[in-house]
Amino acid sequence: MNGREGGFALELSGISKAFGPVRALDGAHLALRPGEIHALLGENGAGKSTLVSIAAGLVPPDAGTIRLAGKPMAFRGPRQARRAGIALVPQHDLLVEAATVADNLAFLDPAAPFLESRRARRERVARVASALDLDVGPPDARVGELPVGTRQRLEVAGALLTDPSVLILDEPTAVLSPDETAALFRALRARASTGKTVLLITHRLAEVFAAADRLTLLARGRTLREAAVGETSAEEIGALLLGSAEATERTGAPEREAPPADAPPAGGVAVDGGGGGTGPSPALALRALRPRGSAAPPVDLAVAPGELVVLLSIDGNGADDLAGAAAGVREAEGSIEIGGRKVRPGDPLAYRRAGGAFIPSDRRAEGLLPDLTLAENLLLRRPPGGLLVDRAAMAATAADRLARFGVRATGPDARAGELSGGNQQKLLLARELEPLPRVLTAIHPTRGLDLAASADVRARLLDAAASGAGVLVVTADPEEAQAFGRPIRVVYRGRLSEPLPSGTPFEALGRRMAGLAA
């Protein structure tokens, strides 16, 4: 909290910002030293993204000061911030998929000339790739065809074109493999060692303690802790994060108590998921299933009632496609059975009719209708049969379900799009898990959620399994896979490993994900 080692590269102090009635930031403080990698931590909705948006000139603060190398700044827009030396790589990449790598870099380069030859644009790609030692893909490749890791590096390269004194990365590793993450951190470390500053938003504490020099922890719009990484521990920060999240939870919605009549008793039926689902009638059975367009061999997989199976893979290895095929949202060849009943592949309605529920990876685009109310979203899985909707009854049952699933919102009439990521996911769970489905397929159910919300989602999925549903979960995060405490099957290039115990060491999982171990 002090500048004892001389000036800060960037210091934001007393920053407040409200969006309508919501106070996103309330006197937050963030100070970055030259030559450091600084981690910004906090639960979802703690104000991290708002704070970096203010630093990057995308959003003006209501109050507070921004000092860049000691000089007070008031940015009128992102171009001005960029010119001053602050570059932001947003969480969701802002690349033009239909354009080439070379054209995207030219677009991201404020110094690009008015007229530029194709060769000059190609040369920019080569220059950037060699200067940063990052593979940003072939110059003439369309960005839409590149893997997410490459796209992410391209975005970082675009931000670095102006050689900013402060580079801000908003959750850069969410979609990266352990190897790609390590390579990115090597590049960031090399940059920091030249005196430039890197600010990193992340949810992964392991990364913070492996790569960062100092950290700032935000909670409910305020700075809760600023420390050098050596002065603290993952345990302390983890506890602070969980604590702050739970505190918010308690002040927000009624505690989840007195489970409803049809809810499972906590830790109900103990099911050992090691068997691989060879019972007489598995909840979900995939036989020789191959998602259309996949080059991988057909897959056999069974999930017994009460069993939870974790598919762990780096994005692009086919786990998402396989789970999507199981849920009928992707065309596939082979056969799918739910509770012993054949279901036509590529038919999401048949999947649902047979008792299937689905949590897609993109909750905003595929899971929810952001412009409809929470109550209306809850109705989507089982629309009322009659001609007219009893809105009062609908609101009442919705309010009850929202409370039980811990969705923090102003009420059942709030729009789904207004909720934070964690609450949107809880809303989805409330819809998909009640009534209890025969099988639930969940793709990246905790992606982008904070620790508390992730833990809550995992508990709900385990509860559903304990109550007798078959649950298939896809994740890209080894820690997350371990946290389920259920057998893990690693997917590498469309092939499934045998079930691994959840206690398999992190490194061993990482090696399998990278295809280094059979």
Partner: protein
């Protein structure tokens, strides 16, 4: 046959100009289905200016000026104020049809006599140079979209407007610029029509060419260079239709020939319908 080629080029040029402008606007993420109205406004302006005694080149310039205004007006409603572009375009079509018809009657009175205007003189190959210059517009636009900074921004605005905003650029400004260019080119197309092949004005003189130009953009899959063959094809079929009518071809009713360009456009759309190429954010409001 040289006569046929001349007529085909004369008929293609207005289509090409209008389609080229529309293509830039659509690549920026907006769309003006009232292109027919813009062409009509351009046609009437050229006619009125020429009747007022200006030369044909000045008449063409007047069309361009009115087109710029039409493009700005469209952008004011459909881009800046984020009104539904389909509704704005539809209203613009109806307004232009009614207003030009009304203004023509004020100008010509109820006499029913046909008022002629002086056409553009033929320069090269028996064609006025603006007609030939029209065929240079697609390569210029190709360069604009692929090699220049504004071009990158137009493409980004049509594909991923949020990315444009994150760069601190205004999607509204980019689309307004594209709309102005589309207005100028659309109105020039209309003006060229009056100043070359039909040297007079009648209500609805553009006869659906604005809609054909919309189809040409899709047929060309939003690629400027492909506008040339697409426009030549439809212009050529129109020329063929005139020729067949002139030859007194009686076996088929003449209405069929009138419908031929439209039928061809439909067929082309059916063939090229799949395969995409449309800007991803086409028709979405600016963030």
């Amino acid at each position: 046959m040289s006569g046929f080629l001349e007529v085909a080029l004369l008929l293609s040029a207005p289509l090409l100009l209008a389609a080229a402008g529309e293509l830039v606007l659509e690549r920026s993420g907006s769309l003006q289905i009232g292109l027919e109205g813009t062409m009509l406004a351009g046609a009437f302006t050229a006619f009125a200016a020429a009747r007022a005694g200006t030369g044909p080149y000045a008449a063409l310039a007047a069309s361009a000026a009115v087109g710029a205004g039409a493009g700005l007006l469209f952008a004011l409603f459909a881009v800046a104020r984020r009104a539904d572009p389909i509704l704005v375009g539809t209203v613009w079509n109806l307004l232009a049809l009614g207003a030009t018809g009304f203004a023509y009657r004020l100008l010509a009175g109820e006499t029913g006599s046909v008022l002629q205007v002086r056409t553009l003189p033929a320069d090269l190959l028996g064609l006025p140079w603006p007609v030939l210059a029209s065929f240079l517009v697609p390569p210029v636009l190709h360069l604009l979209l692929t090699r220049t900074r504004p071009g990158l921004r137009i493409v980004a605005a049509g594909e991923h407007p949020e990315a444009v905003r994150a760069q601190g650029l205004s999607v509204v400004a980019i689309r307004t610029g594209a709309s102005t260019l589309a207005g100028v080119l659309g109105a020039l197309g209309g003006g060229l029509l009056v100043l070359t092949i039909s040297p007079t004005f009648v209500e609805g003189v553009t006869a659906g060419r604005g809609f054909l130009a919309l189809a040409i953009v899709v047929f060309a899959r939003w690629k400027p260079l492909r506008l040339v063959p697409a426009s030549l094809l439809l212009g050529g079929v129109t020329a063929l239709q005139y020729r067949l009518q002139a030859l007194g071809f009686q076996a088929v009713p003449y209405a069929f020939f009138l419908a031929l360009p439209g039928l061809l456009a439909l067929a082309a759309l059916a063939v090229s319908g799949r395969g995409g190429g449309a800007p991803k954010a086409l028709g979405t409001p600016a963030p």
